[in-house]
């Protein structure tokens, strides 16, 4: 991180294929030969309609699932399973409900046997960034949904991953909370030039966050287009050029949605 090697691939996917066999024994091709690389220090958004395999690809990068064929590399090394170098933010906050907020944040560092002071410092600064320092001794269920999502982001970032993977983390939230969290999320990851791969089906969210966008299309899942988002930060969702990207993406994705 922060080594100035932006543009160097953090994750490379070479000819990744994945087929699922459903309960009716019919095969569905989730991914048909994905060739894409994700650059270090960039925020890459994976977008596309449901069924395009974006979450499957993210789960493979996380190490939760294995491809049927093809090669998946992190900094040139094959991915064989989950690793704290690749932190994940899930669709649900997925906090451990029996642990306090603080114990949730310290879970990763404690499991990895990391030095307590460094981890404490990181977690405290992230927690105060999202304004939740005073809730450190609460149980997750004593917090609101939006707060739990922020804690989940902090939990993953406090574990200091090299690559951050996010799977539609804000989908279940109301619009105002989502805006706030998108803002907070960008603030947190941009400070350290964190490498991010972020899955969403929300076009506006994608344009708001992305340095680069990988547009996927469904049945079978494949990469349709790669777009660099060239907009100044902080981004204004009402800006004219923002709207041009919105139109571009809308035209790219809509035919796939209608064809479904």
């Amino acid at each position: 991180m922060g080594s100035g090697t932006i543009g160097h691939p953090a994750i490379e996917s070479r000819q990744i294929c994945k087929t699922y066999i459903g309960t009716d024994r019919r095969k569905s091709v989730a991914l048909a030969g994905i060739d894409v690389s994700f650059n270090k220090g960039q925020i890459t958004l994976l977008v596309g309609p449901s069924g395009c395999g974006k979450t499957t690809l993210l789960n493979m990068i996380a190490g939760f699932e294995k491809p049927d064929s093809g090669e998946l590399l992190e900094h040139g090394m094959p991915i064989i399973g989950p690793d704290p170098r690749r932190g994940v933010i899930f669709q649900d906050p997925n906090l451990f409900p029996w642990l306090s907020v603080w114990s949730n944040l310290m879970f990763g560092p404690k499991m990895r046997g990391e030095d307590r002071t460094a981890a404490t410092e990181r977690a405290e600064s992230l927690l105060s960034m999202v304004g939740l320092l005073k809730f450190r001794d609460h149980l997750p269920h004593q917090l609101s949904g939006g707060m739990r999502h922020r804690i989940a982001i902090v939990r993953t970032l406090a574990n200091a991953p090299e690559i951050l993977l996010a799977d539609e983390p804000f989908t279940a939230l109301d619009e105002h909370t989502r805006r706030k969290l998108q803002h907070d999320f960008y603030e947190m990851v941009s400070r350290t030039r964190q490498t991010v791969i972020f899955v969403t089906h929300n076009i506006e969210e994608a344009i708001y966050l992305a340095d680069r966008m990988v547009v996927m299309s469904p049945s079978p899942g494949r990469v349709k287009e790669i777009i660099d988002i060239d907009l100044p930060r902080p981004r204004d969702i009402l800006d004219l050029r923002f709207n041009e990207y919105r139109k571009l993406l809308f035209n790219l994705i809509t035919p796939d949605v209608i064809a479904e």
Partner: protein
């Protein structure tokens, strides 16, 4: 762990999570006003009906002794010098020894049986190799009524504590095992994935995620198991142990002494209730999170 929303001067403090539904359970403290009279209505009515049945001789006293006869039997059992009937019986003054003996057999059997069930159940729920090695045997044995092991236990272990402990351990194990396996298997995959991506090893995931996550099911099993411990213990005492509540109860039957039979039943009910409360109390303290999650109290 619970946040005060009202401090002791009666002023309302700032709610820490103001956009949160207030799931914080009220503090439980004893006060006479918290006693719900409705809870006592039915037992009281039964007691009155019982007293009336004796008073008006609806049933012969040999079938239905009066509540006072039962109290007398209880007192005689606990300490014969409290009431001098002058007719010492087989149970006179043996209560302390019976209570200690029965509790020992139930508690030790429960502890060993549930410890085995948790250890083996966790292993079976966690590892498919362990499941293949152990689960089929348990599933073959489980449908057989556990009480059917009584003759086997007596022939194998003779009379005394051993057959009783064997039966209690076996009965408790069968009851708790299944709940533990289910609990471990139902622990959310997403929790396991979250732990893995945070850097936990398989062993750490087992200890720090799977076992805490399975605790609600494990406690459900323990609660069923503690009731089963008393059931198996009584059965063993009736036939295989020359002391204890079950022994007193069965001899009461043999002598047609309904007063001591009812006294024995009351004691068993009381001790069973007490041990259930202890498990519930431990569960309440260990499962604060699960209760908050569901907004209920165990």
């Amino acid at each position: 762990m619970l946040q005060q929303s009202v401090d002791n001067t009666g002023t309302v403090a700032a709610n820490p999570a103001d956009d949160t539904d207030d799931l914080v359970a009220p503090q439980r403290s004893f006060s006479w006003r918290t006693i719900d009279p409705l809870k006592f209505a039915l037992p009281f009515a039964i007691l009155i009906a019982w007293g009336a049945a004796c008073l008006y001789r609806w049933l012969p006293p040999i079938l239905l002794p009066s509540p006072l006869d039962v109290v007398d039997a209880l007192l005689e059992w606990i300490n014969p010098s409290w009431i001098s009937t002058g007719h010492p019986s087989y149970y006179s003054g043996t209560w302390v020894a019976d209570a200690l003996g029965s509790s020992f057999r139930a508690v030790v059997g429960f502890a060993v049986g549930s410890a085995l069930a948790v250890a083996i159940g966790v292993a079976v729920g966690w590892s498919s190799t362990m499941e293949r090695a152990i689960d089929p045997t348990v599933q073959i044995l489980r449908p057989m009524p556990r009480t059917a092991l009584l003759p086997f236990a007596i022939i194998f272990f003779g009379l005394g504590n051993l057959p009783a402990l064997f039966l209690v351990v076996y009965g408790v194990f069968m009851q708790v095992y299944l709940q533990v396996v289910i609990g471990v298997k139902l622990v959310s995959r997403d929790w396991r994935r979250a732990a893995a991506m945070l850097g936990a090893s398989d062993r750490q995931i087992l200890w720090h995620v799977v076992i805490p996550g399975a605790l609600p099911h494990i406690f459900a099993g323990l609660r069923l198991g503690v009731a089963y411990a008393w059931t198996m213990m009584i059965l063993a005492e009736m036939f295989a142990v020359p002391s204890g509540f079950g022994y007193v109860l069965w001899r009461g039957y043999e002598f047609m002494r309904m007063d001591i039979v009812i006294a024995g039943m009351i004691m068993l009910g009381f001790f069973g209730y007490l041990s259930d409360r202890i498990v519930v109390l431990i569960a309440r303290r260990s499962l604060v999170w699960a209760q908050e999650l569901s907004g209920t109290q165990l």
